[in-house]
């Protein structure tokens, strides 16, 4: 189901569920006397979050991770669009390149993250590259599928009206591919967050991933949760923005299906 098609009652139900879970969590921690190192109460997380935001520390880390995510997403999706466009142009190019693309995709990016850090340094650059490698594939795959998804009758129409190859590409193939490409971009943008955080886990001096590690080391579990909340908010915001973009760009599509992130 699409976010925008939710009724106010459904939204209220979702909010109530969250409030109920948080309340249960809070009371469970107090009544069962759970150590805050093991599981801090939601109130403790909220306090840590407010303090972190007030001091500017969490906001700074959030800004770093957001920049890495977005830069990596832009880099990865531009590369995905260009490569996808090239591969969709001819079966010969596809046969030449696609085995390598698949091989690249089957290697877990998390596993090559230390390599990328060695190559691109301990700063922001290596995180951008890791985010880009993760965002690349969904954009690439959706671009290829999209450009190939043109119905035969539309191609026959273009042939009957004597369209050139170029006209067929820009007037039919690209618009036809846009719904696919936008799904790829949505998935790629959300996955880029993972890339940035993984890069920060490997080695960093700033960013929310770094902050989570730091808080973990000092047994500040509430601080870990506070950073996680910000990461979740950032991921959701990116997804909502992409959903908005899809709606704006695909003005002709009646029913925009939700994005499946499992693929």
């Amino acid at each position: 189901m699409n976010e925008a098609t939710r009724t106010p009652i459904e939204i209220a139900q979702s909010v109530l569920l969250l409030a109920g879970l948080l309340a249960a969590w809070e009371f469970a921690v107090v009544w069962l006397d759970i150590s805050p190192i093991l599981l801090p109460a939601p109130s403790a997380v909220a306090i840590s979050l407010v303090n972190g935001v007030k001091s500017g520390l969490l906001i700074k880390h959030l800004g770093v991770t957001f920049f890495e995510t977005m830069a990596g997403f832009v880099l990865g999706s531009v590369a995905g669009l260009v490569c996808g466009g090239l591969i969709a142009q001819s079966r010969a190019i596809e046969r030449l390149l696609y085995p390598y693309v698949i091989a690249f995709q089957t290697v877990p990016k998390v596993a090559i993250a230390p390599l990328i850090v060695i190559w691109f340094g301990y700063g922001v650059a290596s995180k951008v590259v890791i985010a880009a490698t993760i965002a690349f594939f969904p954009v690439l795959a959706n671009t290829i599928v999209g450009l190939r998804s043109v119905p035969a009758d539309q191609l026959e129409l273009m042939a009957a009206f004597m369209a050139t190859r170029r006209q067929t590409l820009w007037k039919v193939r690209v618009p036809q591919a846009l719904p696919f490409i936008l799904v790829g971009l949505d998935v790629g943008a959300v996955l880029a967050v993972i890339g940035a955080v993984v890069g920060e886990f490997v080695s960093a001096k700033e960013g929310l991933g770094f902050q989570i590690l730091q808080s973990g080391f000092s047994l500040d579990t509430a601080g870990v949760f506070a950073a996680l909340v910000l990461l979740a908010v950032m991921g959701i915001a990116i997804h909502l923005a992409m959903g908005f973009l899809r709606k704006k760009v695909l003005y002709w599509v009646d029913d925009i299906s939700p994005v499946n992130f499992s693929g």
Binding site: D153, Q154, L157
Partner: protein, 283 residues
């Protein structure tokens, strides 16, 4: 056995024989011994069309009638120029037809509108492709005229998904007319519509044909539709696809839906039905 039987039949039929052999030089389109052979997936040769010859005069309404698999769509694609015939001659205005031309308009079984273009932009698509985007403006007035002719005045800025199936096919007809072609090739244009809408669209089509004086070749597998619309019905039989008979329809114009109940109409329908029955070609 069947083939020789068919050949005998069409030679017996005088009117058909005349048209087949003596296609006049003034004809807009002629076909001589057109043959189309495919190689199927298991490397067998399949003859989709064999020895098809005819002439079509300017302004004529022709119905290509036959069961599925008789090669009528193949023939239409060859006339469009998007499918290369194996052998035989096809001419348009005396010149050999070697590919799509701007003076041939095409309507498909489905509207095939581009969903991201408004009605007006869809109608102007052939202009953008052929004459260029800059020329669009010169054709906008004509596009609006055709929209009016197909009964869609005021729908210029609507998108295809906002229109019914019948309205979408009207847009497709407007699009096929925009370059003012001499001939319209239509492949079961109303086949996807419900029976009532289909009848109305056929009446509309006759009105558009009379207003624009185009030559129309329309593919159908409905005997009644063919008789109702056409000046001449080209009867095709399958395996291999052949033009087995050409039947002139001498019903008065303009035609109305209540003519369907007239004895003359019934006579034509029965005659064509018998033809298919004796050739074992009813799908």
């Amino acid at each position: 056995m069947l083939v020789s039987d068919l050949a005998g039949k069409s030679a017996d039929d005088k009117s058909a024989g005349d048209k087949l052999i003596n296609s006049k030089p003034a004809d807009l389109v002629t076909a001589q011994n057109v043959r189309m052979v495919y190689t199927s997936r298991n490397a067998e040769l399949v003859t989709a069309l064999d020895d098809v010859s005819f002439g079509i005069a300017e302004g004529e309404f022709i119905a290509l009638l036959g069961p599925s698999g008789c090669g009528k769509t193949t023939l239409l694609k060859i006339l469009t120029g998007t499918l290369k015939r194996t052998s035989g001659e096809v001419t348009m205005r005396g010149q050999p037809l070697e590919g799509p031309r701007p003076d041939i308009g095409r309507v498909f079984q489905t509207p095939v509108l581009l969903a991201w273009r408004s009605v007006l932009d869809n109608i102007l698509l052939p202009i953008e492709l052929g004459e260029g985007r800059l020329q669009r403006r010169d054709y906008e007035a004509r596009a609006r005229d055709y929209l009016k002719m197909v009964g869609l005045e005021g729908f210029e800025t609507k998108y295809p998904h906002e229109l019914s199936g019948g309205m979408q096919q009207r847009v497709a007809i407007g699009r096929s007319l925009i370059r003012d072609p001499a001939m319209l090739l239509m492949d079961e244009p109303f086949g996807a519509l419900d029976a009532m809408t289909r009848d109305l669209m056929n009446v509309e089509l006759l009105r558009i044909w009379q207003a624009s004086r185009k030559t129309i070749v329309l593919v159908t597998h409905s005997i009644a539709e063919a008789v109702f619309l056409a000046d001449r019905v080209f009867v095709m039989t399958p395996r291999p696809g052949r033009l087995s008979e050409i039947i002139p329809i001498d019903l008065p114009r303009p035609r109305h839906l209540d003519m369907i109940n007239s004895p003359e109409f019934g006579h034509y329908v029965r005659r064509i039905g018998r033809h298919f029955a004796t050739h074992g070609a009813v799908a």
